[in-house]
């Protein structure tokens, strides 16, 4: 093919450029591969990715105010909150018109609940006003300002109107500010009162405890993985079953077992008292706090650390250690300088697995965590299922996702992601 070097693209036997020929040949292959994964792809897209995207979108979405009270929102734009006075009649008239429609559609209570996240009391205010507005006649009952204040004097409160004005745009950063213990103030974002700050502490605690759990898993799992990797495979397989045994029982059962073990009238305390190590009236508090969460979660996540470490260690030939010793290294030097660096990819894989699982863990902290040992995920669950503040839950989830991605990126920068092996 020496003539093709100076005549441009290489041609296939039929005269078409080789590149196009090759692409055509590969297209069928690619198409078939796509067909094979299509069902799963569709399933994941519909049941997993789209809901997540929708959920994340809720963290900034705030159309409920402008949809329920469209006229009010427009009129309220003119109002200056710093004036210290409630808005004028025009706004109240718009509010009356909007409420009339909202009450028909019964959407005013939903708006009330939404605004109640920002200022308590608004939910009952809207419900109460709704009942009255229903009986008004828009054409004859004007002016409305005094009428609203008669229903509840809160309508004359500048704060109520400021909240309405602040949350009238279709998108808001309010949920995110809330997630980092801030709120929208008169002059932009400001810190919440100290007794309302909770999320930064929770995020910090989640990260810290996940790190502690990961570290304990490394410390406990490394020797086990080492033993497993250095035993004859028959024995190793037998012991492997013991490592995997926890997977055969329900997560709830395992966590509840820890409750039995750790509580003040539990097995461990009883044994300690019986041995005389601990006085009966000063039994150790090992549950419903961080200690309980760390112990239980370390136990539950340990297999995820041992498995990747084991499979990496299995690939490290014992001759490396022998070689190091023959070169004059003591047992420790041989381990630390020759064996350990080769086992780092296993530690990396195990750590990422355990850390990411831990950071989003929910059930175990919920059961054994008490108030001091709960994670951010417990708070998210609370907002999803109890307080129904999905926007805040979505914002917290988004931040959690961002933190995980950030840590993953940092890990890639520092250790290198190709340094992670599952075997």
């Amino acid at each position: 093919m020496s003539d093709t070097t100076d005549t441009g693209p290489v041609l296939a036997a039929d005269g078409t450029p080789l590149k196009r020929s090759l692409a055509r040949a590969l297209r069928m292959q690619k198409l078939r591969a796509l067909m094979l994964i299509a069902p799963l792809l569709l399933f994941v897209l519909l049941t997993f990715i789209l809901p997540i995207v929708d959920m994340l979108f809720r963290s900034v979405e705030n159309q409920i105010v402008s949809e329920t009270l469209p006229k009010t929102v427009v009129e309220l734009q003119e109002w200056d909150a710093s004036s210290g006075e409630a808005p004028g009649e025009a706004v109240f008239a718009a509010l009356a018109a909007d409420m009339k429609i909202a009450v028909e559609a019964k959407t005013h209570t939903r708006l009330g609940s939404r605004l109640n996240y920002e200022k308590t009391g608004l939910s009952s205010l809207f419900r109460k006003s709704g009942r009255k507005v229903k009986r008004w006649d828009l054409a004859e009952d004007a002016p409305f300002k005094q009428k609203f204040i008669d229903i509840d004097e809160d309508w004359g409160d500048v704060d109520v109107w400021r909240t309405l004005q602040t949350y009238s745009p279709a998108f808001t950063n309010g949920y995110f500010l809330n997630s980092i213990d801030m709120q929208k103030g008169v002059d932009g974002p400001e810190a919440r009162p100290e007794n309302q700050q909770i999320y930064i502490t929770l995020f910090g605690r989640t990260l810290f405890m996940s790190l502690v759990i990961t570290a304990s898993c490394i410390l406990l799992g490394y020797p086990v993985a080492w033993i497993l990797a250095n035993l004859p495979s028959r024995t190793a397989n037998l012991l492997m079953i013991l490592v995997l045994l926890p997977f055969w029982t329900s997560l709830l059962v395992r966590t509840s077992a820890w409750k039995v073990m750790l509580q003040q009238q539990g097995v461990i305390n009883d044994v300690l008292v019986w041995l005389g190590l601990v006085a009966d009236d000063s039994r150790l508090v090992m549950i419903n706090n961080q200690f309980g969460t760390i112990v239980a979660m370390t136990h539950i996540l340990l297999p995820f650390m041992i498995l990747p470490m084991y499979s990496v260690m299995q690939t490290i030939a014992p001759t490396y250690l022998r070689a190091a010793k023959s070169l004059g290294a003591t047992n420790w030097t041989a381990f630390w300088r020759v064996y350990f660096p080769q086992s780092v990819p296993g530690i990396g894989a195990g750590s990422i697995l355990v850390f990411i699982l831990a950071i989003g863990y929910y059930i175990t902290p919920e059961i054994v965590g008490g108030t001091k040992g709960v994670f951010i995920s417990n708070r998210i669950a609370y907002h999803i299922s109890s307080s129904l503040n999905w926007g805040l839950a979505a914002a917290l989830g988004t931040i959690l996702l961002a933190v995980v991605l950030l840590l993953y990126w940092a890990y890639d920068k520092i250790v290198g992601i190709d340094n992670v092996k599952l075997g």
Binding site: T319, R322, L327
Partner: protein
């Protein structure tokens, strides 16, 4: 140190036994003495105990019984890292997470050597194996032969007096292996280091060693220089294991003037050199003749020498030699090798010939 026999031996095994399971002995009563600077090869089939011996010397296995001495000092209780023995492993065992220079630096660092000394030694060692430009590479970026050289340099860089090699050329192709065989012997001799080399490849053993210890069944069957091993095997195992070999079985009729007259099972008579103690009049014996020492040209045989009838079964042209398979005294695997010379006769299958040999080339061994 303990007795006078060990004074000039650098490496010494005395009555060494090794058992892994407490029931069978892998190494049975091993005695071996090596002077300084010798290149000794342990040769044997797998499971013969040769690698176990090497591992005991390196310190990775402990002897169940007996004494191993290095330079007169018993090393039974010295851990491997204090023995100062260089070792080349079967799969090189170069540390994959270190560069070549770091690999070589490792034994020097654990000896707390200064940086400039280290660098000088690493450079010298790498130059010695012609790998001077590869210091910054990783082991995975090198070919098998290059890794082999680096492994050798690493085992030598801390200047040990004794180097052990455990089938170091096993993973290389034939051409590279032959080249490395030469290089390793050359290096060992020029540096004057004592080398114990383990292999199951008899060609390697013959071409490289000063002496070869042939292992079988946990014992040294013969310990001798290569030429003696090949030409004067002391028992049938060594005769079979080293090189190609023809065997015929029979009974010793008489022994006279250092010659044994053996009657083969089909009645034929041959003259042999009695080698094994068991070769006595009336005893069963197995005689061994190298294929290249068999003669079928009557003119070249001694006057009155005994000959045997043979039928040509197969003639194979191999370039430099001809290989002919014969039926001799009921043995259909009797091979003769002849040089491809201009006047050489090419035998044809079916041809009836008579073969003979010099009595000293035919050795009567244990049955």
């Amino acid at each position: 140190m303990a007795n006078s026999a060990s004074t000039d031996a650098f490496v010494e095994f005395e009555r060494v036994q090794k058992s892994y399971d407490g029931e069978t002995l892998v190494v049975k009563d091993l005695n071996l003495q090596m002077p300084q600077g010798e290149f000794l090869t342990m040769l044997g089939p797998s499971g013969s105990g040769k690698t176990t011996c090497l591992m005991m010397l390196a310190g990775f296995e402990t002897a169940t019984h007996g004494d191993i001495r290095l330079d007169g000092v018993s090393i039974n209780n010295i851990p491997p890292h204090k023995r100062g023995i260089g070792m080349v492993f079967q799969n090189y065992a170069l540390f994959p997470h270190m560069t070549i220079a770091e690999n070589l630096s490792f034994p020097l660092e654990v000896r707390k050597m200064g940086k400039s000394d280290r660098e000088a030694k690493i450079k010298r060692a790498l130059d010695m194996v012609e790998m001077g430009d590869f210091g910054g590479r990783r082991p995975s970026q090198l070919s098998g032969g290059q890794q082999q050289r680096v492994a050798l340099a690493r085992a030598l860089v801390f200047e040990p007096e004794l180097v052990l090699m455990d089938e170091p050329l096993g993973a290389l192709d034939k051409q590279l292996r032959e080249k490395m065989q030469f290089e390793i012997t050359h290096l060992a001799h020029s540096l004057g280091i004592t080398t114990v080399y383990v292999t199951h490849d008899q060609t390697e053993a013959l071409t490289m060693s000063d002496r070869v210890a042939v292992f079988d069944d946990g014992r040294i069957q013969q310990l001798a220089p290569p030429d003696q091993l090949y030409e004067a095997p002391v028992n049938s195992f060594v005769a079979q294991f080293i090189g190609e070999n023809n065997t015929l079985e029979g009974t010793v009729k008489e022994i006279k003037a250092g010659r044994a007259l053996v009657q083969l099972d089909d009645g034929g008579l041959i003259d042999c050199t009695p080698v094994h103690d068991s070769v006595q009049a009336g005893a069963r014996t197995r005689v061994s003749i190298r294929p290249e020492r068999v003669e079928y040209n009557k003119d070249r045989l001694q006057e009155g020498a005994h000959t045997l009838k043979a039928e040509v079964l197969e003639f194979i042209y191999m370039g430099d030699i001809f290989r002919t398979r014969l039926r001799v005294a009921g043995n259909e695997e009797f091979i003769i090798k002849t040089r491809n010379a201009p006047d050489q006769v090419r035998l044809k299958p079916g041809e009836q010939i008579e073969i003979g040999w010099l009595p000293e080339d035919c050795r009567a061994l244990d049955a």
